[in-house]
């Protein structure tokens, strides 16, 4: 298993711990805008780009669905496939919000992932640098933001 690649160094340790403790196959930490912050388990930028866009859209849809069905947004989702399972949840650090999506198989379980995700959330709260709490909201340039974060994770296009 490869170590996480990150756009922001402070998330590297919590991501590594989450990956190892929860026995995740792959995972991406991103801003709700779709900008990637860190990832593990993916070898190319195109996969991460798709996951960021989809996770961002799923999160927005789930929140709205939650509001309509339950009066409050849904923040956590779990899909159990035949072989692999997907866990998607929101994490906060100070005023900043993050989304995390992770994939696991029979080597782990939903209960175990939930436990270690709670610890991951606490680590983000503890390690989050105050200065970065602003300026990461949607700028309107979704594609540009996504590409910049992918450059940070995989290197500029042409060198990936």
């Amino acid at each position: 298993m490869t170590d996480p690649t990150v756009a922001e160094p402070w998330v590297a340790a919590p991501l590594t711990r989450l990956k190892e403790d929860a026995r995740l196959i792959s995972g991406v930490l991103l801003y709700p805008s779709g900008r990637a912050v860190g990832q593990f388990g993916f070898a190319n930028a195109a996969d991460v780009m798709s996951i960021c866009a989809l996770t961002s859209a799923i999160n927005a849809s789930a929140r709205e669905l939650g509001r309509q069905l339950d009066g409050k947004p849904f923040y956590e989702m779990h899909h159990a496939g035949a072989e692999r399972q997907v866990f998607m949840a929101r994490a906060t650090a100070g005023a900043q919000e993050f989304l995390f999506v992770g994939v696991f198989d029979r080597e782990s379980s939903f209960g175990v992932v939930e436990i270690y995700f709670a610890e991951f959330q606490k680590a983000l709260e503890r390690l989050h640098p105050e200065k970065q709490a602003t300026g990461v909201g949607p700028s309107g340039d979704f594609e540009g933001e996504l590409n910049r974060s992918l450059d940070a994770l995989f290197g500029p296009i042409g060198k990936r």
């Binding site: 159990a80 029979r106 782990s108 379980s109 939903f110 209960g111 175990v112 436990i115």
Partner: protein
């Protein structure tokens, strides 16, 4: 099949049993649980962690037992400094108890095996 709440209630009344739980074998989520005497409202529920990790550990024990060609494990006992965790498989669920060091381990084991057999 006995109601799961009944199984948990019966196990939790065995002397020395601090908590009894029925946990999903695959997802590690609590299906039914007894109350924990020293749990604090609003605090982290230790049962959730114990349930998930005990079910996870049991799944590894099943694999180890299978690898050693011993068949399905009948009973798992984890002895710690201040007590024990017992796990018995019962189909799609596992029965988990947290037990004090001075408990009658034989009786707890017997009650768990009976509960698992009745619920398989």
């Amino acid at each position: 099949m006995k109601a799961l709440a009944q199984v948990v209630a019966k196990l939790s009344h065995v002397p020395g049993v601090v908590a009894a739980m029925i946990v999903g074998a695959k997802d590690g989520l609590i299906v039914e649980t007894s109350l924990v005497a020293d749990s604090t409202p609003g605090g982290t529920d230790p049962r959730k962690h114990t349930a998930a990790l005990a079910a996870y550990l049991y799944s590894k024990v099943v694999r180890a037992s299978d690898a050693a060609r011993l068949g399905t494990p009948a009973f798992m006992r984890l002895e710690a400094e201040r007590g024990h965790i017992f796990v018995v498989g019962a189909g799609d669920v596992v029965v988990v108890t947290i037990v004090t060091t001075d408990a009658n381990l034989g009786r707890v084991r017997l009650e768990m095996m009976t509960a698992a057999r009745d619920n398989s």
